[in-house]
Amino acid sequence: MEMRAAYAQCLAQMMEADRHVVVLDADLSKASGTRGLYERFPEQMFDCGIAEQNMASIAAGLASYGFTPWIESFTPFATRRICDQIAISIAYAGMNVKIVGTDPGISAELNGGTHMSMEDIGVLRSIPGMVIVEPVDEVQLRAAMPVLQAYKGPAYLRLFRKETEKVFPDDYRFELFKADLLREGRDLSIFVSGLPSADTLRAADMLAKEGILAEVINVHTIKPIDRESVIASARKTEHVLTVENHNVIGGLHSAVLEALAAERIPVCALGIPDRFGEVGKLPYLKEVMGLTTENIVRKAREALK
């Protein structure tokens, strides 16, 4: 199932259970997979039209009235375009609004560079009180959404909206603020979030054939980062690589570096190399940005030097 379909199902369940759960769109409900919910929840679904600033502040007004709004758009419009509305109307005011950005980084594919946000985590991570979660697959998404709904405060869900490879088992339990160990290892810690997680696991398999045991940790909550797990793994392996579908500046790499600042452990980065996106399909874009399994293996070897 596409991630957006699972996302819409979760929203429907939450709206069914609580009439104070509302969803706001900016003319992208079809892309977000929520168009079908309008008929079923006419008092809980609102399309603000192409006016993201207004959507964010309307959500804050609804939150001040006791509602829990989920606002959704493509990642660049849900974050960098409305950064001040998120900072002031939502975060500074302490409003319980969930922000959903779809098509993060290179997953915007054929929409190209204008619709690719490589900086959304960096933008939001520097806003106090913002929780940032990036699920890897449908299982993790379904587990995360009720937890985010129950969490009182502003949060950002960075949502890949198409089909993904399954990474987590069906009995997976999501714990906010706690990173997930995907593969235990000894020689190198690879911290990964979102899209490249499956490729990173494949890379770990290839490395294992060379006798390199990589520990793979999925950092689903990038802010606040699970410092304890990051430090414990890095101390164990003494070599670190971060892998992300985001600029290497401001995202997971920066968060891991900050956590390890006092550790004197080298941290290598693999992510979008501080450049804008471009149009293309995912395999091409992975190649261009260096987010292929082969390149993860290569970077891992470099990190061990």
């Binding site: 207004n54 007004g61 001040s64 009235y65 109307s89 005011a93």
Partner: protein, 285 residues
């Protein structure tokens, strides 16, 4: 009109001046221009209970031009939300009365505002919330004329009309001045009434927005528009710095300027003397 309303208005203006004078600097011009409106809202129009600032179903006032905080605080103190002594902590470190309105610090403040244009959208969101709850609350909001240059204001205007939020009453403090120059010279918003009408709002033009009676009548008229299916914009033609001639004379310079305790004392004395003289004249008549 209740004669005590003009006394309240005088007290709010004087307390606002005292607070800014005590600090020595502040957003004085755009605070003084809206005192009549705040008096009408807090002492006549709004269903509120100062002992229960978070009362469910209460009417709400969202001051989107958040820099008018000093005037709002003076109104809240006079209405009994907190002791007047607190007004003298305005903008001091650790105060609960920051320069711009903050719902998490000040009892009676319904929304955090200051980044222009956003509070107006928040008010529209609150009006939608009230409609969904069916609590019968009125949502009042105030924007500046300069603030009306923000695109977000017009995004929210469109949405409020589309959603038929007729329990939303907005006010524009049309004092014609902004920081850099007159509004007309910087980026003219005229004809303001036609713009709001074109956006699907009822429009009431108040010739003198610093005349209590005119403001009071306009608010009553706006309330009468409930059921019209349209939100209402009340354009208040005001004077920035109203009540203090030396502040008015500063023109665009009075947005945020030094104002000493001595100046405040002198202005308050002049205002109270004029008020007493007016009252005496009224009695003679």
């Amino acid at each position: 009109m209740d004669t005590s309303l003009s006394q309240r208005c005088l007290d709010i203006r004087c307390d606002c001046l005292k607070a800014i004078g005590h600090l020595g600097v502040g957003h004085i011009g755009g605070s003084l221009s809206v005192v009549e409106l705040l008096t009408v809202l807090y002492f006549e129009a709004m269903n509120i209970d100062p002992s229960r600032p978070k009362m469910p179903g209460r009417d709400r006032f969202i001051c989107s031009k958040g820099h008018a905080g000093p005037a709002v605080y003076a109104a809240l103190a006079n209405r009994g939300y907190f002791p007047k002594e607190l007004l003298l902590t305005l903008n001091q470190g650790g105060t609960s009365l920051p320069s711009h309105c903050d719902m998490n610090r000040t009892p009676g403040i319904d929304m955090t505002t200051g980044s222009l244009g956003q509070g107006f959208s928040c008010a529209v969101g609150a009006a939608l919330g009230s409609k969904l709850e069916g609590d019968g609350a009125m949502i009042y909001t105030l924007i500046g004329d300069g603030e009306s240059q923000e695109g977000q204001v017009w995004e929210a205007a469109m949405f409020a009309a589309a959603k038929k939020l007729d329990h939303l009453i907005a006010f524009t403090d049309y004092n014609k001045l902004q920081i850099d120059d007159t509004v007309a010279k910087v980026n003219d918003i005229a004809p303001l009434d036609e713009k709001w009408r074109a956006f699907g709002w009822n429009v009431i033009n108040v010739e003198d927005g610093n005349d209590l009676l005119q403001v009071s009548q306009a608010v009553a008229q706006a309330k009468g528009f409930i059921g019209s299916g349209k939100p209402t914009m009340v354009i208040l033609n005001t004077v920035k710095g109203f009540g203090v001639p030396e502040i008015i004379a500063m023109g665009t310079g009075n947005h945020n300027c030094p104002f000493s305790e001595q100046q405040a004392d002198d202005a308050i004395r002049a205002l109270r003397e004029a008020f007493a003289a007016e009252a005496a004249k009224g009695k003679e008549a």
